[in-house]
Symmetry: C2
Subunit: 328 residues, 2 copies
């Protein structure tokens, strides 16, 4: 009996989840749900139905876990609590500042329904958060560092696309090698925003657009670019398609700390990711969390959870005995 997964929202992340489900033999994709016209959506997995999101009202007996692949700004704050009242759900809510509020709403809905809702799954929040937590528990006296990249930031790419005269854009976030080096060596540097990351933009301009103005608007954009050293390259549409069509990302979480009666011993804990596809990796984390949601609910648990609340064994298709014998 496989775990029956539903996917709501078939963008990059939904496709990433679909691909992850296909790699996990204990799961099957039961259906894809969309708010668009279902007839306009073509899914990759053979034989999988595409249904209107409205159909979710009546499919409780056909879906074990619903993965909600909407955006964190407006979709998930509504959808995750709504569907947690009907299904075990998993999302990748990533607006860090609003997590407590999102948690409370999902928790109330899931508890009332006797379901599990796992929020903020992925790599940041997600695996990076977990590694911050473990490292903080092990080394209570220390400093945390998170570096992102080299990789495509979708939010920053979108921000550049909104500038007048820009036809297409891709923004890469890049850690500063010297900063990384200083952290890894245990020097415990204090780093400003500018010292940690640089930003590199590849821009396709509309014909006749004022390139100098575009470059200036990018580099001075508050929140997004003003605090960083930013490089802007104007390229052709062909170059964009040829060289920048992927969505690679990655980064690392480092904690340095001290132990010993005189705090004389230094330690460096580092977790790093190099990802060819950000949405497929995120989808893969979500698939493992969907398994945990199903199993925890089978054991009678309910309410909202984050990866902090999931005993790692729940994420695995292997039995506890197998895990102890082969991975411990």
């Amino acid at each position: 009996m496989k775990i029956r997964i539903g996917i709501l929202g078939y963008g990059n992340l939904g496709k990433g989840v679909e691909s992850a489900v296909a790699q996990n033999p204990d799961m099957e994709l039961a259906a894809v749900f969309t708010r668009r016209d279902p007839g306009s959506v073509q899914v990759r997995t053979q034989g999988v139905r595409v249904l209107s999101a409205d159909a979710l009202k009546e499919m409780k007996d056909q879906i074990d876990v619903l993965v909600i692949c909407g955006g964190s700004a407006t979709d998930l704050p509504v959808q995750t609590p709504e569907y947690a009242a009907l299904y075990n759900v998993v999302d990748s809510f990533d607006t860090h500042a609003r997590i407590p509020e999102h948690f409370a709403k999902v928790d109330a809905a899931a508890k009332a329904a006797g379901r599990i809702g796992i929020i903020s799954c992925g790599w940041d929040p997600g695996m990076f958060s977990l590694n911050r937590l473990y490292a903080n528990c092990i080394l209570p006296e220390g400093t945390d560092y998170t570096f992102w990249g080299k990789g495509v930031s979708q939010g920053h790419s979108d921000a550049v696309r909104r500038i007048e005269g820009v036809k297409d854009a891709r923004q890469y976030t890049i850690p500063v090698p010297e900063a990384l080096e200083a952290v890894r060596s245990g020097k415990n540097p204090e780093l400003t925003t500018r010292q940690k990351h640089t930003r590199e933009c590849f821009v396709v301009a509309k014909e006749g657009a004022d390139l100098a103005r575009i470059e200036n608007e990018i580099k001075t954009m508050p929140n997004y670019f003003a605090d960083y050293d930013t490089t802007v390259h104007f390229i052709t549409e062909e170059e964009m398609k040829r060289d920048h069509s992927g969505l690679p990302h990655g980064g690392c979480v480092i904690r340095t700390g001290v132990t010993g009666p005189e705090k004389e011993h230094k330690h460096v804990i580092e977790y790093s990711l190099k990802l060819d596809s950000n949405p497929e990796f995120t989808g893969s984390v979500i698939a493992a969390c969907a398994r945990a949601a199903y199993r925890m609910n089978q054991e009678g648990m309910s309410g909202c959870k984050t990866m902090f609340d999931i005993a790692p064994a729940y994420l695995s298709p292997k039995s506890a005995e197998e895990l102890r014998a082969h991975l411990l």
Copy 2:
């Protein structure tokens, strides 16, 4: 009300736990227990009693978690089940092949007593195991690699010390840089034992000993050295003391895998540790596990657990709300 920790066994690891407890404000060291003459043991923490291990029969109301710091070969297989019948216990049992058997014995004792016994805490087994598990759940199609070092292997150092004519010895395990590089690049190499690590020995020979014979005995020692490229350096006692008195270690766990409909995207997950003091880092992991043992038992759980069974939030002194607000 602090968590009252008892330490049984006051060697390098016991001292590492002591130092970790001092860094965690929600814990206090209640007593150190020894099988030696308690009068012969001097502990670093002021005001802490040193008692005979026999006293453990009657201290159930004074100790919340007993950390058992014996050896995996003969101490822990007896001690952990024995004391799990009286206390919440934590050990660092590291004989991988015998973990299932050890688990079963501790589980029976802890369940009967309504206590928690957490076994095999540390970094390998421990944090390395956890990272193998998480990475396997995220990337079901992939390959695992574990590299140890550069660091002192106590077992190998002991093996060299047992050779006739050797007065003292220290053995370093060193990952082969080219192998690490190939793995990190996602090339998925198949590596033999010899291709992954080299071994370097520093030996103080007794006066008049046959150095060529010692070197040959080391390099051809089955299981320990025969499958590796080993370098042997003869040094003086002063050099040993000056350059090799620490117990640094570390290493990394890497999983490379693929995702996507055509498995066209590669991913590399790496967890790495650089430790100035192996026993103090291990002691720090154990302290966090002791907190989890106490809290899980307070919630009514019992039986044997490994780090696979511990929801990460239990390891932290912070509340679930704080963790979500600040570390997620």
